[in-house]
Amino acid sequence: MTIENFNTDRGLALLTVMERIRAFEEQACLAAERDKLVLGAIHPSIGQEGVAAGVMSNLNKDDIILSTHRGHGHTLAKGASSVAMMRELLGREGGCCGGKGGSMHIADFEVGMLGANGVVSANITIAAGAAHAIKLLGDDRIVVDIFGDGAINRGPFLEGLNWSTVFDLPILFVCEDNQYSATTKTSSMTGGDGPAARATALGLRATEVDGNDAEAVADVAAEICARLRAGGKPEFLHAVTYRQTGHTSFDPAAYRPEGEAAKHRLENDPIARQRDILLTAGISEQALTDIRGEAQAEMIEALRLAAASPFPDDDTVFLDVQDLGSPAVEAY
């Protein structure tokens, strides 16, 4: 990156999104561990924010994304409200899904976020179908599906990627590779040459990027999205990053080699790296501190508002199951 043609606005926007994701998840973890207000599992993406920020910076509101169980960052970066998201994590009224989904099913269709998914890999075929509909309807939107490195070992990876090439769909698959599948080192359970090689074998153009470099992610995603919008073929992005926390907020991740996480936090944190880039580009330390302060204030307030919200009305339990034979009419 040469400082001369550095896009300061984009650089600051990337940092802002990453700081907001980090602050959101720090508050969510506190709400889980300290306050016992988040009851179900949450999967933080702390350390992985560069992928969410970089990819989403190239999407419009009506573009579509699908995500995974580790989807807070993608959802926030796509434009969902932090308050509605926090309410959802706490299972409250006014949550994005009315408190029925929780963290693992977070979704905001208003901003084109068609759902996290509690089933690893499942969104790959669904995302291909979203792109299929866009093509059938003649829309000019694009779809981005994000999944983990573990997801490439399930069948939907093969079926969904193949589907996208067979039907030539406007979709970008992003493998957000944090190197772990729950407690297992993914490489120890993966044959062949990894995600990009598999995607290439299925006919997709595949690109690899340092997922902890938000600028680099934003650059390659910009090129890919431009190709897709110009009617190009489906593409694949392998973004390598690192999960700084345990698999869930409660997992101490003691199975990792001594010092591995600490080293990543120190040397390879996407937020620290973006701050360094911005400082080099002449942005003041104070400006960066302000961005962080605002993000933290937003998320503290989001948690306060969520905790003050009531649980959903009992009657909503039978709402939105189905029209015909709805349990609201015949529960048993």
Binding site: G98, F109, V119, T125, I126, A130, V166
Partner: protein, 322 residues
């Protein structure tokens, strides 16, 4: 009114739905050549390859992609070829399609029809003959339909395509060629049973091809001076409880018959509901017919061991008088 086969009645329902709604499209293996049973013949020529879409042999992707497309403004008709293969797409149907609307707090709908030809047919053996309708009834979020006649296959498929819920649509493979009158103007309300024959002495509840056997059985019973009422449920979820309960209140006797395995079958749900709600109306023992909890064999004599026949229904009806 025209005479049509069960298969062509469905084909006509699809054609009319596709003509009136440009967001309806069909996807499945070999559809471009009319589908394995010819249920899509001629539609490719009329609607083109994007709307009568071939698919790779990727049942999970057919189901998953159709679901994604259903959430983004289209109404897919998914062809699973044989109901048995739909099991390759179980996560997509059960964990994704059936649950999305609820999990996402009502933000999405999955208006799609999943066609799963089922049932015993011509020595197809254990992996091409199953009737698993009761599994799907157990999944909240799904509508489960089992048409038995050409008219119902026309009217119910049209209604299913127009419905905003995901519909598991189970046609019976053995009756593709069954002919009957079809009135294109006849609309049905999904969830309403059809009383195929009215009678005063015994209620026979069935669906799918077994409902046709029940009508045959009722004719035989008439010769024996037993006036049987045949209720073809047509829809298993929702199911027409009042039609069944009213009939049992009237006749005081009940036979439930289905081709699928008796154990844990939907017949058990019907009998349990009758026992809970109108037990005092019963004048004789309830009879429940279904397949033994065993596997469907290739050899015709062994395959026959798994069948519920019209004769068995006659005998069961007589037994309700004992």
């Amino acid at each position: 009114m025209t005479i049509m086969t069960y298969a062509n009645a469905a084909l006509e329902a699809i054609r009319q739905s596709m003509q009136s709604d440009p967001t309806v499209w069909c996807v499945g293996e070999d559809l471009g050549r009319g589908g394995v049973f010819g249920q899509y013949k001629g539609l490719r020529e009329e609607f083109g390859e994007a709307r009568i879409s071939d698919a790779p042999i990727s049942e999970a992707a057919i189901m998953g992609a159709a679901f994604g497309a259903a959430m983004v403004g289209t109404r897919p008709v998914v062809e699973m070829r044989f109901a048995d293969f739909a099991l390759c797409a179980t996560d997509e149907l059960v964990n994704q399609i059936a649950k999305a609307r609820f999990m996402f707090g009502g933000q999405s709908r999955a208006p799609m029809v999943i066609r799963k030809p089922m049932g015993l047919w011509r020595s197809s053996a254990a992996q091409h003959s199953q009737s698993l309708e009761s599994w799907y009834v157990h999944i909240p979020g799904l509508v489960v339909l089992c048409p038995a006649t050409p008219q119902d296959n026309y009217s119910m498929l049209k209604a299913a395509i127009a419905c905003d819920d995901p519909v598991v649509y189970l046609e019976h493979k053995n009756i593709w060629a069954l002919e009957g009158d079809v009135d294109f103007d006849h609309q049905i309300t999904l969830g309403e049973a059809s009383t195929r024959r009215t009678g005063a002495d015994v209620t026979i509840v069935s669906w799918s091809n077994t409902a046709n056997l029940a009508v045959e059985a009722a004719d035989t019973l008439a010769d024996k001076n037993i006036d049987a009422e045949v209720i073809d449920l047509r829809s298993l979820w929702p199911w027409d409880k009042s039609a069944v309960l009213d009939s049992v209140r009237k006749t005081g006797r009940l036979v439930v018959a289905h081709e699928s395995v008796a154990v844990g079958g939907f017949g058990a749900e019907i009998v349990a509901t009758v026992a809970e709600q109108v037990a005092s109306s019963l004048k004789g023992p309830v009879r429940r017919l279904g397949a033994p909890r065993s596997l469907i064999a290739y050899a015709p004599n062994l395959e026959d061991k798994m069948r519920v026949t019209a004769e068995m229904i006659v005998t069961a009806a007589q037994e309700t008088f004992e």
